[in-house]
Point group: D2
Chain length 296, copies 4
Amino acid sequence: MGVPVWGYYPAVPTRFVLTLSCPDRPGIVAAVASTLANLGANILESQQFDDPRTGRFFMRVLVEPVAGETIEQADLHGAVAAVGKRFDMDFQLRRADAPYRTILMVSKFGHCLNDLLFRWRNSGINMDVAAVVSNHPDLEPLVASYGVAYYHIPVTPDTKSEAESRLLSLVDELDVDLVVLARYMQILSDELTARMSGRIINIHHSFLPSFKGAKPYHQAYERGVKLVGATAHYVTADLDEGPIIEQDAIRVDHRMTPEDLVRAGEECEERVLAHALRWHCESRVLLAGDRTVVFS
Amino acid sequence: MGVPVWGYYPAVPTRFVLTLSCPDRPGIVAAVASTLANLGANILESQQFDDPRTGRFFMRVLVEPVAGETIEQADLHGAVAAVGKRFDMDFQLRRADAPYRTILMVSKFGHCLNDLLFRWRNSGINMDVAAVVSNHPDLEPLVASYGVAYYHIPVTPDTKSEAESRLLSLVDELDVDLVVLARYMQILSDELTARMSGRIINIHHSFLPSFKGAKPYHQAYERGVKLVGATAHYVTADLDEGPIIEQDAIRVDHRMTPEDLVRAGEECEERVLAHALRWHCESRVLLAGDRTVVFS
Amino acid sequence: MGVPVWGYYPAVPTRFVLTLSCPDRPGIVAAVASTLANLGANILESQQFDDPRTGRFFMRVLVEPVAGETIEQADLHGAVAAVGKRFDMDFQLRRADAPYRTILMVSKFGHCLNDLLFRWRNSGINMDVAAVVSNHPDLEPLVASYGVAYYHIPVTPDTKSEAESRLLSLVDELDVDLVVLARYMQILSDELTARMSGRIINIHHSFLPSFKGAKPYHQAYERGVKLVGATAHYVTADLDEGPIIEQDAIRVDHRMTPEDLVRAGEECEERVLAHALRWHCESRVLLAGDRTVVFS
Amino acid sequence: MGVPVWGYYPAVPTRFVLTLSCPDRPGIVAAVASTLANLGANILESQQFDDPRTGRFFMRVLVEPVAGETIEQADLHGAVAAVGKRFDMDFQLRRADAPYRTILMVSKFGHCLNDLLFRWRNSGINMDVAAVVSNHPDLEPLVASYGVAYYHIPVTPDTKSEAESRLLSLVDELDVDLVVLARYMQILSDELTARMSGRIINIHHSFLPSFKGAKPYHQAYERGVKLVGATAHYVTADLDEGPIIEQDAIRVDHRMTPEDLVRAGEECEERVLAHALRWHCESRVLLAGDRTVVFS
C-alpha cells in the first residue's frame, strides 16, 4: 500500500490531502470517515488532535480511490463541504501532487537557499520555486545555476514600500502560495504580513523566545548559553512572535566566538527551515491560534 | 477535552484503548469509526499505519463515552468483535485505567530499577510493580523502600531450569502481564521466551544490531565508535534479535575508558527503557512481524 | 596510565587538580608545565582557554607524581603560588580524592534528588552528601533510605530569614563546599547568594534565558515551542541570570499539555543537573565573569 | 587573543599547528612547552591525551609568535625535531593557513558534494578543492558552477585498475593531501588504500559497525531500528572497518520506507562528513592504532 510519510512525498496525482479544523464535539471522525468511504476514498494516513486550549478539533487525512475507481476533486470537495457545514469546519482540499508555488527570499547568507534549492531538485520537497527575491545581487549566480528567476529588489528606508509592492505583484503574477524568508534580513511591513498571514515562513537564528531581534548569536555569546538554536515560524506583525513550526538546537561551548556560533548555527538553520518547509508543503501544519499543530 | 499523550497517562476509568491489526483493505477506518460512534464512543486519539512490508493495517484508538452516557466494556468488545470478524482482525480492548501488572528483573546494576521505581510512583507509568526478581540479593533494600516484594532467585547452570519455573509460577500467581529485564544479566531459555512472547522487554546496553552479546561497551571501546546507545526490545529466542521498541544514543570520545562508557551509558539505558515501558503500558506498541509499530 | 575523563572520577589520593586563571600573556603554559615537572609532577590532563572577552587565561591540570616519587600538597602549593605571583594568578589546588561536601536542597519534586543520591552512591560523583534540606517533609523517607540527615526547614515570609540562618549554620557546621538546589522552589535572599557566590548551583526547568521565573513549562506551552529544556547555573542575586554551567533540551509537540511538559522535562532536568554537578565536583568549571569555562 | 576553535578556522599565516605522538612517559608536556617558549612561540590551544590502550601520548598545539616577533617554520621544525628525538616522537608541523589540497569523489548522490562545495567557499573549511572525480557525468554542472575541474572517470570491472591509476596520477599532479569519498560508490583496491593510508576519508551511510556493505538503509529498515546514522572514517583495506572519525544518528520510525530512510539520512551524512573533514583539515584528528583521537 505504501503510506509515504516523513521526508518523502510521492506526488501521486490521484491522491488528495484534506485538512480541517472545527469546534470539538463528538462524531467528527466517524462523519468524515463515512463520507470519504461513501465516495470510494480509502484513508492512507489520518491524524487528529483535540486542542484543549482552543477547544478546536484538527485533522489531516490522505486519501486515494479504492482500486479501480476514480474520484473527482469537485465531488470530494462537495461532500466534505456538506458534512463540514454541520460541524462548522474550516477545511482545505488539495491534490497530493499539487506543489506549493513558492518565492524564496534571501539577503547575503546563502546557506539555507543553497540547501533548499538542492533538496527541492533532488529530494522532492512538494514545491515549485517560482522565483528568488533578494535585496542584494550576490546570490544570483547560484540561483541561475538552477534556472530560477532572480529578482534583485534593493530595500532602503525610502524604497521599502515600493519594494514590497513589487513583491506583492510577483506573488500575484506568479500565483504564489508561499513566501519563505531564507535568511532575508529586512523586516516586512505589518500590512504585508497581515495580507499574507499564514503564508510567510521565516527562519530566525535563535531558539525563540530567547534572543529576539538582531544579532541573536552575539546575544547568545554574551549570555553564555551552552546550546544555540533556530526557529522556523510563520511571520506576523509581532516580530519573532509568530506561531512556531519547528525548532532545533546544537551544543556550543565557551571557546566559541560569536563568529563561531554564526557558522555552527548554519547547519541548524538549514535543517529547521527544510523540515518546516517540507511539512508546510505536505499540508501537515495547521494553525491553532498562535500555536501550530504539526502532523509530522 | 484534553487528549493526554506523551509522558503522562491519566487513568480515566471510563476510557478504553482499542488496538487492532488486520490485512489491509479499504474501509477499515470508516467501519471502526462508525461502530464506535454508534455506541456513543467519542474518539480522543486515533493513529493508524498501513505496513507495506507485511500488508497489514494497524490502528490504535482511545475512546470515551459522549457526555452523559456510559459504555460497558462487554458491549464495546462485542461490537468490535463483530466488525473485526469481517476484516479478520486481531484486536485488544483495555480499560485505560487498567495497569499492566509487571515483574521487574535485575542483577546487580540498579540504575534502571531505581529509575523505574521512582517514575512508577511519581510519574504515572501505567503499571503495577507486582514484584522484583533478582539473581542477587544486593538490591533488596532499594526495593523494600518502595514496599515491593523482592524475590532472590539465584541462577546457576544447575538451577537455571528451576529458577525459570519459579519465575513462571510468580507470573501466574501474581497475574503478571509483563516482565521487564532491567539489566538482568541471565539469558532466558527458548522455552520461557516462547511462552511469554511479546510480554518480555529487555534493555540491551548497545545500539543494536551493533555489539550483540556480552560486554557491549568494551566492544564499542575497541571499535572506537563516537556514539554509544541502548536498545529496548521484545525478547525472542534469538538473543538480541527481538523486535526493537526504542533506541537512543549519546556522544562519547577517545578519552573514555570502557568503564567510562559503562557509566555514561547508564542514563541512556534508563531513558530508553522508561520510554519503551511507558509506551507498552499505554498499548502504543504493536508487533508487525519482527518489527514494531510504535504509536508514540 | 589511564586518564579518566568524562563520567567517572577515580579518587586517586596521590593526584592533584590545579585550576587557575590570570590575565593572558605569553609564557604561562611553559611556566606552569616547568614548575610541575621540576617537582616530579606528571601532567595527566591539561586544558586551557584564552578568553578574548575578559582577556583572561584559564587552565586546569591533573597531575600525579612520576613513578616512585611522592608529592606533598604544601610543596606543590608553594611552587604554584610562587609562579602564580608573577602572573597574578587566582588558583585552587585540591587533592583529586577530596570530595566536595554538599547540601542538597529540595521542595516536593524529588526526581533530581533521587537521581543524584543514586548516582552519588553508585557512580562516583566526587561529593559527600552532608545533608538534605527541604521546606517540606515529603522526601524524608527517600533520604533516610540513604542514611543521610534530613533537615525539614519550613519557609514562610515570616520565617525566611531564620530559615536561611539555619541553612548557613549547617553550611558552617558541616563544612560544606557546595549547595545544590535540586528543584528547591524558594528564592534565596541576595545576602545568602552573595555570601555563597559560586558555591550554589540551581537547576532551572527551562532553557534560559527563555521562560525565567515561575511555571516555565506553562510559559513554554503558551508560546508553543517545539523543544523544552533545562539549565544548571550558579545562583546570583539576579534571579535566573547566573552563569550557565550546562543546558539541554528535548523535543515536545502540540499534543502535550503543560503537565506533560512537566513530566517530560524531568529527565532533562536530572541529566543537566547531574552533569553540572559532576563537572563542578571535578573542578572542571571556572567562572569567567558572568559566563563559565567548562573543561568537560 | 581569539582562540579559534570549532567551526571556524582563521588562516592566520603566522600561526603553526604542531601535532605529535610518542610513547607515554613523564615530562613530555614540559619539554614541548619550554621548547616552544624558548622560540617565542605562544601557545594558543593545547590538547593532549594519554592512551592507555596503545601506551602512546598524543598532543596538538596551536602557536603564534609573541607580539613583535616572528618565527621561521624551519627553526620551529628543528627545535621540535630535536626534543622529539629524545621522546621518539612522530610529529607534523603545518602553517595554520596552509589548506589541505583535496580531491572530492562522488558517484550520483550529490548532497554531500553540494554541502561541501558550499561550505568550502563560504565557511572556511581549511582545504583547497583541487578537483572532483566521479564515475558518472551527472554532477559536472554543479561542480562547474564552482569553477572546479571535474574528471569523469568511468569504472567497470575491466577499467578499474586504469581508473585508479588516473586517480593516483591526479593525486600526484595536483599535489593532493586528501581524498574524500563523498558518496563515491566504488570500492577502492587494497593497493590504493594502502598507498594513501590515513589520507582517504569515506562517509558510510550507516552507524557502523551496524549495516556494513551495500544498501545499509535497506538493512536498517529490515531490522526495524529506531535511529539511523552515518559514519566518517579513514579508508583501509578492510571495507567499512577503518578508524572512525565522526558519527551521528537521527530518529526514524515504523512509517518510513527504505526510500524515506535514504532521504532522511542525507542530512546526517552531510553533517558527519563536514565535521570530520573540518577536523581533519585543522589537524585535529590523530591515528591511535585502529581508533582516532579527535581534538575537537
